[in-house]
Symmetry: C2
Subunit: 641 residues, 2 copies
């Protein structure tokens, strides 16, 4: 799925489609009332900020957390609303200018981020607020680093950023959905490779190294990973609402509902066993995290530190007095989680084999059905899900399928909806970016196909993208190299012809966890990524998009592995990538004359491996027609002299 | 000259050589006395920091500013000394571990930066200081951003960082050299392309854009560039000690000596003309900058801002109350200076032609003399300077010549001194990294030569370096690309074989100014570089170094130019590089079988251009033997099938 995390993707993402705006006059009136109501605010606030996002800084959020979409109508994945007594303004980026303009009524001013004349939220607030104003925000939603930045600017202009405990949107959102609280899945050692006890031991040793006494787990995937549990509170990400606070001798898990009454979970967490006290998990209500953390904060002696992500909410960060805070951009869990152990990589391999089987079935089916003119983008996406769901240990999709044909393919984060749904044809390029959660792994793959005869120009562009894909996939680089240093390899062939794509090249992929995870990736936009090391898993997905006409992307999930090299400078060792995704790359789309011999060999070797590994599984599953398709699609390329 | 600026190179750089340590017992005793003396400090300080560097954050510093070398004996280009009542410690990086250990006596503890167990200066101070200590530093030497970081850590541990007005080293440095105050050179429009008046107008328009009223010029090359003046107060960098403060209606130049009595300078600056008041330059004493700036600071009304580099000294930054400071990493002068106009690029071209003539003479001479066994590294360096000095408008070298043979070539910042001086032979690789200041431009070129028969392995390594050099030089990339995104192109061929080099690939080059200048460059180490644009000039200098045996580097200075491409995505336009350096790359060192056809063509085209352009100039200058050498060295490469 295309390089950029879809930060805070909301439940409906209908990019590019026509839609009527939400009428917000009454809602804004109500919000402005509660902004002054002593029932909710100590002093009236002259502005209220409604960020995207939940209390865990999740990328995908639950319906109950889509507050910005509720108040404005704009439900794109990124956007911040600010409502003052006079104004209502929405900041979003170039992907969503059109959608936001369509979804919002005249009460709203669209602030187009990235354009030169668009003010920052802080500057705009300073320009519209009366002297000495108070700006309110939910301290559980705003990350500490963002609070710090914003509060500094406001203070220097004579205003105050103030935390409003009760979320003001929730006070007017009468039919707000319940926070989900679904049953948990326990993962045994055959999936995780490491028990939660051993993960706690490793975490405590990292804490001891940094001389911190407490670690606060705020990201949902970090809680899930640490305890070898999964959930389904949020779509696509197999996580559940919870926090954890790990001390050197205590483990506190903050989680709601009757999920802890499930015998399998109790057994898994050894809640009823006689355990050494330092492994005894204290289960506490989700909502009690703040008071518990405040108690921890109050109990600290000088030089005792509490470790939090610098993206943790302002509320939790402030619970610890400043002198005791130890904030880092990446937590030790985030870093440990990124390096997959053998059980996890083997699981990821199995998941990718199953996923490839499903896609061979799908493409074989599309090849037959598309010429009939009956297959729409939505039908194709549903069919992909159907084939995936037939595979063992399938749980759900790992993100909303991007099924796009012709001009829709140029909308990078497109998801088909009835208003935009297009019929696949033999005259257009079809781009499918899709993936699934299996109990043994997470997949994410993009293939670009033509079911008729592609034009020379389409083949040319496809081949540049392929050259970029291979340049990353076959790259050899020293241990310790950061992924962003590989990003230009993916673009070089496009750049040579004056082409490019405006998204990153790759993101970390979780192991039956979030399809986008830190701290590594391949993107020119970051610098603070952690160095790549063997066992990390990222996507490799360059593309090319021509507005109004087509989109091309070739994406594999790849595993970082040690590379054998002729020499070994400073004994550092080298790394390279091994594709986990094993789905044919349509040779019909390749202009062989543009490939070097090395690139041609790469394609042929890759297809040979697809044929062997996926062919065997197709045969085992008795999917003989798809097997025939696979064999046809993996015929070696030959250079025409 | 190798990618990394030699931050604060001191007057003697004798890397790798044996030398006896400086005895510092008495000096340290004296320093510890003045650290307690009410004559110099309001309250005793328990630690005193002696950074590298001068009050302008210059890379090359004058002898009078080499205070850290004076107190410790260690005169490498980077290092910070801290002296407490009990300890004396020196922080330096891996390039200087050996040299620092050799040059310092037992009073000093070497703190090896970059090693895991080495504490930061702040952490070390916290660990050794008694409670509630005061740490002194010269506020004119420490940059504001560094003060901020250090002071925060010390304060949180209960100590205080305090500014000591009088530099304590100066109080005990009885034979401290005078601050240089040499005559100025005026540059007319034929060199600069833009008058200083027009530069002031452009600067004021940038100031108006950002709504700042004052701009403080603190970097020496920025003062020189702004006023189209050059000096020779510091070796290699044609600058002079001065500050400037530019208001919307005033220009203040802080400069000492009788330099302003020179009629040419008075004429150039129109000091005696009747000018519009906003272009009237007020000349003030160098030492009065602080009080003048404090007066500016005191005169400001709310919302009035003063623009400074965030690298300006703490003393000058603090002269402006915090609310009025506008700090940026790159100043508008730094950015404007980087984009050369036609007069400047034409000057740079001329300078590089002259420089190439000198090098053709040198290499022709070396080819004859080296086999006799009489040419040492120092003799070769001197000969290079002799040939350069014969060229028109030669001013001085642009940095200390790196003339190194065999194992010395692996010391990246080597400069030959008698103790290390090695004789060139037909059995070793010779690396020459050298450059000059001409009145029309600055050069910096590295060639690696073998005067006998290179081994297959030496050729292999050289060819990988060459492939990297070409990959950058021939790269096509979109307008707005930052240089650090090109760094990996230079390494790819080395990485494929497990090799690498531990320095950046390129740095900005001034126009008859500093050989290292911001804000652009090509290095994996930076992220905050400004995007490349047409007219910028950088070096392209990958290398490979094998400790104890040889060093290889191939360096050209290249100009960023627009590139013609087949397509033009989003109308952004593309850029590429044009080599300004036109000196043959020794074909004897190339393993042609490792080159692609494209790379081979690049070498042949480059040599063709060298032959045409430099050949014509050699002929014009009647240097016919060197011309014959050039013709031999630029014979086209042929692929042996």
């Amino acid at each position: 799925m295309a390089g950029e995390p879809l930060k805070f993707l909301c439940f409906v993402l209908a990019a590019g489609g026509k839609m009527s705006p939400k009428i917000t006059t009454e809602l804004l009136k109500q919000l402005r009332q509660v902004m002054k109501s002593p029932k909710y605010v100590q002093e009236p606030v002259q502005a209220y900020i409604v960020p995207s996002g939940d209390a865990h800084q999740s990328e995908y959020i639950a319906p109950c957390d889509c507050r910005r979409a509720f108040i404005s109508g704009f439900d794109g994945s990124a956007g911040t609303a600010i409502v003052t007594e006079q104004h209502a303004a929405m900041w979003t980026d170039g992907r969503y200018f059109l959608q936001a303009a369509n979804q919002m009524d005249n009460n709203w001013t669209l602030m187009k981020m990235g354009l030169k004349d668009t003010p920052t939220q802080e500057d705009w607030l300073v320009s519209v607020l009366p002297e000495g104003s108070k700006v309110g925000v939910d301290p559980f939603i705003i990350p500490a680093d963002q609070w710090k930045r914003m509060s500094k600017v406001l203070r220097s202009a004579g205003h105050d950023l103030v935390p409003i405990k009760e979320n003001l949107i929730d006070t007017i959102w009468t039919d707000c959905p319940q926070r989900p609280c679904k049953p948990l899945i326990t993962l045994d050692l055959s999936y995780t490779g490491v028990s939660w006890r051993d993960k706690i031991v490793a975490l405590r040793s990292k804490m001891a190294e940094r001389k911190v006494l407490w670690f606060v787990v705020t990201a949902l995937d970090e809680v899930a990973w640490l305890f070898n549990l999964r959930g389904s509170d949020v779509e696509y990400n197999p996580v559940f609402f919870a926090y954890a606070v790990i001390g050197m001798n205590t483990i506190r898990l903050f989680i709601d509902g009757d999920r802890m009454t499930d015998p399998a979970v109790r057994e898994h967490l050894q809640l009823d066993s006689t355990l050494e006290p330092e492994f005894k998990i204290q289960v506490m209500p989700y909502g009690s995290i703040l008071t518990e953390l405040q108690a921890v904060g109050a109990s600290l002696s000088p030089k005792e530190k509490v470790w939090l992500s610098d993206k943790a909410s302002y509320a939790l960060t402030e619970a610890i007095p400043k002198a005791y805070q130890y904030l880092t951009p990446y937590t030790p869990i985030c870093i440990a989680k990124a390096v997959k152990n053998t059980s996890e990589t083997e699981g990821m391999r199995r998941a990718h084999v199953k996923d490839a089987v499903a896609l061979c079935e799908l493409f074989n089916w599309l090849e037959k059905e598309v010429p009939k003119g009956t297959v729409t983008e939505i039908i194709a996406a549903d069919k992909a899900e159907e084939f995936r769901s037939q595979q063992k240990d399938f749980v759900e999709l790992s993100f909303a399928t991007i099924s796009s044909t012709g001009p829709n393919g140029a909308i990078i984060h497109y998801k088909p909806v009835p208003e935009t749904n297009r019929t696949l044809s033999v005259n257009e390029i079809y781009l499918l970016d899709s993936g699934a959660q299996y109990k043994d792994g997470t997949t994410d793959v993009t293939r670009t196909m033509h079911f008729g005869t592609p034009s020379a120009y389409e083949k040319e562009c496809f081949t540049y993208v392929l050259k970029g894909h291979i340049a990353v996939s076959a790259a050899i680089f020293p241990n310790g190299t950061k992924g962003h240093l590989l990003d230009s390899f993916a673009r070089s062939a496009l750049w040579d012809c004056g082409l490019d794509y405006l998204h990153g090249t790759g993101h970390g992929v979780g192991s039956f966890l979030n399809v986008h995870e830190g701290p590594c990736g391949i993107s020119y936009k970051t610098f603070a990524d952690e160095p790549l090391e063997a066992g990390m898993i990222v996507s490799d997905e360059p593309g090319y998009y021509e507005d109004g006409s087509f989109g091309i992307r070739i994406e594999n999930v790849v595993l970082v592995i040690p590379a054998e090299t002729k020499y070994n400078f400073k004994n550092r060792g080298s790394l390279t990538f091994e594709p986990l995704t094993l789905v044919p790359i349509q040779t019909k789309m390749i202009d062989v004359s543009l490939l070097t011999q090395k690139e041609l060999n790469w394609v042929n070797d890759y297809h040979q491996k697809c044929r062997e590994v996926i062919g065997a599984e197709l045969e085992r599953q008795g999917r003989l027609e798809a097997l025939q398709w696979l064999i046809r699609e993996t015929e070696p390329l030959i250079r025409v002299q």
